[in-house]
């Protein structure tokens, strides 16, 4: 018969006991801290409560979803800031990724000019502070553009405040201190139907692509699945466009008394923040991608070439699938950094969550609540990004057979 050890020498008891102790210490520390904060705030008549979110905000926000500063509440103002943050983060991730991959491939290309250019770009971006870069982009580049009346235009006549706008051919792109004006697509009544058709076309194209892949695998002959798929998709989109009689009309930039009045206007603040974040993050992403590709052993490339795959196929079918496993975890970090770095927007006047939140804190004195709310929102954004990337990582990880 096995003798049971003494209670306090039983590893299982000890393990539980230590965990309970650690948890108790942690909870007590947090509770004492929270209590001190609350009692100090109460002593200064700053007891936190959430009622202020329902008060009228009364300050203007330069851009974002619909918001009337006269009647909308602090809560709504926070939403505007949140949407602006998400807008920057998503656009930044979408743009920085292909640029980063492109720079990485350039650095690995073997072409001495490309290699040096890409290397120089990466070193310059990685080794200067992001805030300095953002202020350079905003003050130096976007506010350094010509004044509104001398806007740089592409296609169409020059916009001029003095001239009658109707007599000037509207341009496709107009750049000035007031931002970049580009054509805006205005949906017509058939836009919904057309979008449905495009979605259906995408599904059909995917099915076609999988079928051609299967044929290629069976016969060993190239079946051009990608070309067939894209052609089908484009065909469906084109036919549907004519069937609904045009899904979108184009509104070209036109000038008013104080700025562009038609078209889509990207503010200098948004543009500078987006360009700054993308150019900065792309350098880090390029290094992550380069590291991932170089982690695939040379033998893999040689073997792929030996069985007769083309250079592009080697990359797509052999190198990238293996490199992605190495790339995705650090790439996730870069995405999180980009999203969090967007809070530097405050220094160039872009109304993101942080800027709006600080203003609300200043107006209401509820800094503790506002800060806690902002931290939880950034945390939620980061965790959501992380979750998506982890799911993707699980999908592409090495499957042991």
């Amino acid at each position: 018969m096995i003798r049971r050890p003494a209670l306090l020498r039983d590893e299982r008891v000890l393990a539980v006991l230590i965990q309970v102790l650690v948890a108790a210490v942690a909870i007590t520390a947090v509770a004492v801290g929270a209590r001190n904060v609350l009692s100090d705030l109460a002593a200064n008549n700053l007891a936190p409560d959430l009622d202020f979110l329902g008060n009228t905000a009364g300050f203007g926000i330069s851009e974002g979803i619909r918001y009337a500063e006269g009647s909308d509440t602090y809560g709504r103002a926070l939403q505007v800031g949140l949407v602006n943050t998400l807008r920057i983060a998503i656009a930044g991730i979408v743009l920085a990724t292909p640029i980063g991959v492109g720079v990485a491939l350039a650095r690995l290309s073997g072409n001495p000019l490309l290699v040096r250019l890409a290397g120089g770009y990466i070193e310059l971006m990685r080794n200067t502070p992001l805030l300095v870069q953002l202020i350079f982009w905003y003050q130096g580049v976007f506010l350094g553009l010509p004044a509104l009346k001398d806007a740089i235009t592409v296609g169409g006549g020059a916009l001029s405040v003095a001239a009658d706008a109707a007599t000037v051919t509207p341009p496709i792109l107009a750049l000035s201190q007031r931002g970049a004006a580009v054509p805006r697509l205005l949906p017509t009544g058939g836009a919904g139907v057309w979008l449905l058709a495009v979605a259906a076309g995408a599904v059909a194209a995917w099915v076609l692509y999988r079928w051609r892949e299967a044929v290629q695998r069976r016969t060993g002959q190239p079946a051009r699945g990608i070309i067939f798929g894209l052609a089908l998709w484009a065909g469906v989109a084109l036919v549907a466009w004519f069937v609904v009689g045009g899904a979108y009309t184009v509104a070209l930039p036109a000038i008013g008394r104080f700025g562009y009045e038609a078209g889509l206007v990207l503010s200098p603040e948004f543009s500078a923040l987006l360009v700054g974040l993308v150019v900065y993050s792309a350098a880090f992403i390029a290094e992550v991608v380069r590291g991932g590709i170089q982690a695939v052993s040379l033998g893999q490339r040689e073997a792929a070439r030996a069985v007769g795959l083309r250079q592009s196929q080697v990359m797509r079918l052999v190198i990238l699938p293996q490199a992605l496993r190495v790339i995705v975890p650090p790439l996730t970090n870069q995405y999180l950094n980009l999203a969090k770095n967007s809070s530097l927007a405050i220094f160039i006047g872009f109304p993101d969550l942080f800027q709006v939140g600080l203003t609300i804190g200043n107006n209401t004195g509820q800094f503790v609540i506002i800060t806690a709310m902002m931290m939880s929102v950034y945390l939620a954004i980061s965790l959501a990004t992380s979750l998506l990337m982890n799911l993707y990582n699980r999908k592409i990880r090495l499957v042991e057979r």
Partner: protein, 393 residues
């Protein structure tokens, strides 16, 4: 059975541990005291209990703190005045981007109207106008800096409003400068009334009353505009100057003092309209009446000195004055300073080292400065202005 027994016993031990520390901790140290209160609250969920505990803490702190002379304890209970006296130095929150009111001059020294009020408070409390540590603060940082005790007093062109007085936990001193909000635009635009600004972009500082007044005024006038907001005055004016906005709004005094620093001052005009009342003055943290009294009466004293005609040059002539009001004011009779907890001759230090209101004004904003800002309503009441100090008696 094997697994359940240890878990159950561990839970029991944990519970015992928490309760024993709660019970014996209450008379040893304050952290454990708090833990005990947490435990109490968890059991009873009683708000008043918590509030009482807080009050006890405040009441109990000074005894222990005076013995240890720990400045860190100031935030919780010791009066700010004692803290400043013990530290021998005043921490004053100022603007560093508003020439004339608070900025760093060519010698690297802080200078300006607000800065001189910091010096006056230091002279009154510590007898030395140079015993000030200036903390440059942005408009967004200023209230947190005061709330966290990072600065003892905020003299940073801050507008006195009801919500700041209450929700932000501040106490405002007397208004030292009566300002109003104005607009500046390019002359070429030919703006004559608010409606001419329909569709315009307007640069404004974030987290300011200016920002909210603009919203109010424009809503009232039914004018659509885009507000482009920045943290610091340098950014607001710089962005306007470089052409980002059609107009810029700030306190009129700021517009006047900023205009000469722009690239082409002649191309801009300050519009002939006043959007709001902006009473600017010192602010301290709410709930420290002793310290608030000191700040208030020093500010009033500077005004009263002008009313008496006492300035840094002629104060020597007044030291043997027969006028009982002046004798009380300069601490020669009655000991008014003792009531404030500072030296009786506090106004002598202030006037000798900093000067009276008129001297402060002329030095920073007057005709000999690039700003040449007329005093307007910022004159003594006896000259038709709004400056009125209560009696020193």
């Amino acid at each position: 059975m094997h697994l359940t027994l240890p878990r159950w016993s561990a839970a029991l031990m944990a519970a015992f541990l928490v309760f024993s520390s709660a019970a014996c901790g209450s008379d040893t140290d304050s952290v454990a005291d708090d833990a005990a209160n947490v435990a109490d609250d968890a059991g009873a969920v009683d708000d008043t209990d918590g509030a009482d505990a807080g009050a006890e803490e405040v009441a109990a702190e000074p005894e222990t703190a005076t013995e240890s002379e720990a400045p860190a304890a100031a935030d919780t209970g010791v009066g700010k005045l004692d803290t400043v006296l013990a530290r021998g130095d005043l921490s004053c929150g100022v603007n560093d981007q508003l020439p004339g009111f608070g900025s760093v001059d060519s010698d690297g020294e802080f200078a300006g109207f607000d800065v001189d009020f910091c010096r006056a408070i230091a002279a009154a409390v510590l007898g030395d106008a140079e015993a000030v540590t200036f903390r440059p603060l942005s408009s967004q940082q200023r209230f947190t800096a005061l709330q966290t005790g990072e600065v003892d007093v905020l003299v940073r062109n801050t507008t006195w409003t009801l919500s700041r007085d209450t929700q932000n936990g501040l106490d405002f001193g007397p208004t030292t400068f009566y300002d109003g909000q104005g607009l500046m635009a390019r002359t070429a635009l030919g703006i004559e009334e608010l409606a001419d600004l329909d569709g315009a972009s307007i640069c404004v500082g974030s987290g300011t009353t200016t920002e909210r007044n603009l919203g109010d005024v424009m809503r009232e006038a039914g004018v659509e505009y885009t507000s482009v907001t920045f943290e610091g005055a340098d950014q607001v004016m710089g962005s306007y100057d470089s052409g980002r906005c059609d107009a810029v709004t700030a306190d009129l005094s700021a517009l006047v003092t900023r205009k000469p620093t722009m690239a082409n001052p002649d191309e801009h005009e300050i519009l002939d309209m006043v959007l709001s009342k902006e009473p600017l003055g010192p602010a301290v943290l709410q709930g420290d009446a002793e310290w608030a009294d000191v700040v208030n009466w020093v500010s009033f004293g500077v005004m009263q000195a002008e009313e008496f005609g006492i300035d840094s040059g002629n104060i020597g002539n007044f030291m043997d004055s027969d006028n009982p009001e002046i004798r009380r004011f300069l601490g020669l009779e009655d000991g008014l300073g003792e009531g404030l907890g500072i030296g009786n001759g506090f106004m002598v230090d202030v006037i000798e080292q900093v000067g009276n209101y008129s001297e402060i004004y002329e030095r920073n904003l007057g005709a000999d400065t690039p700003f040449d800002l007329p005093r307007g309503v910022n004159q003594l009441w006896s000259d038709g202005g709004l400056l009125y100090a209560p009696p020193f008696r």
